[in-house]
Symmetry: C2
Subunit: 179 residues, 2 copies
């Protein structure tokens, strides 16, 4: 199942509206609750997605196209939202995510990438040589990993409340591997 650029863009373009429909104006008992200890809330996850739009995905795309493997990607700060989300509401973060994603996809589309461009390579600080195709597939899968995480961390709240039904609900068997 190879990477398909148009399908990746179709998915990436839908994530802001999906998270907006799920989370905007939802009671904070859902959006500000985590799975215990240092796990993330839905609010934290949206801050992390904003951070990715700002510092990770498109800067790496540009670096591959401009510098190939001669420069190494800046490591992604997975905790940047701890500072950057301070003082913001969830609605503000959802708006910020939607605006940044829209601009980033407009820039990506403007590159008019061809199949041979997708094979161009960059340098990841841990993995070494990676392709533009792998980076773009990861961008889409990263959206899905965090939608997966949000659905799990919100369900956690009702782990006890569902009583005996918990054994039928697969989300309760997911052991926090999508942080």
């Amino acid at each position: 199942m190879p990477h398909d650029l148009q399908d990746t863009i179709a998915l990436l373009s839908r994530t802001p509206a999906t998270l907006n429909a799920l989370l905007r104006d939802l009671p904070e008992a859902w959006t500000l609750r985590n799975e215990g200890q240092s796990t993330w809330t839905a609010f934290d996850v949206i801050g992390h997605l904003v951070s990715g739009e700002r510092t990770d995905w498109m800067p790496r795309v540009r670096m591959i196209l401009e510098h190939g493997e001669t420069r190494t990607f800046v490591p992604f700060d997975r905790w940047a939202q701890e500072c950057d989300s301070q003082g913001k509401s969830l609605s503000e973060l959802l708006d910020e995510f939607a605006n940044l994603r829209s601009k980033n996809l407009a820039e990506l589309c403007a590159f008019n990438l061809q199949p041979n461009d997708l094979e161009r390579r960059g340098r990841h600080p841990d993995f070494g040589s990676v392709s533009l195709s792998q980076l773009l597939a990861t961008w889409a899968a990263h959206d899905l990993t965090h939608l997966h995480q949000i659905s799990r961390l919100m369900a956690h709240r009702y782990r006890e409340a569902v009583g005996p039904w918990s054994i039928y609900l697969g989300v309760f068997k997911c052991s926090g591997h999508s942080s």
Copy 2:
């Protein structure tokens, strides 16, 4: 973390728009692909959610309120969508889900349930005595378990395409427990 009726309704009311934003007009390479063997596609999951709205959640709520523990719930047919979704498009199923959910929540709200009502009990074919509160918490957690499943089964498509990044993506570590 006890069950909260208003928070449950807030979540249940958002699921149709969430799934609509994620899935409507998304390429079929995302929506008609499964995780292999007899696993479900996103299309199958929406059919299952339609089926739950039609035959499971509100019929059980009504049965508790009308008959208490004197009648046993009709077992939920988890494969009903195999017949019921035949010949329908994903857009039709999304519309059907949204319409049924909206009607069901209107009926639920009209009951004007009070805290003591939530402690009323019914009879589950496997579990025996269960409370209305547990049933309603399960309805919400069931939405989340299937959002969790959809994000995982769609990500599955890019399991290879992401290359070395797969080790960072928790969704690939989720072993199909939310069917």
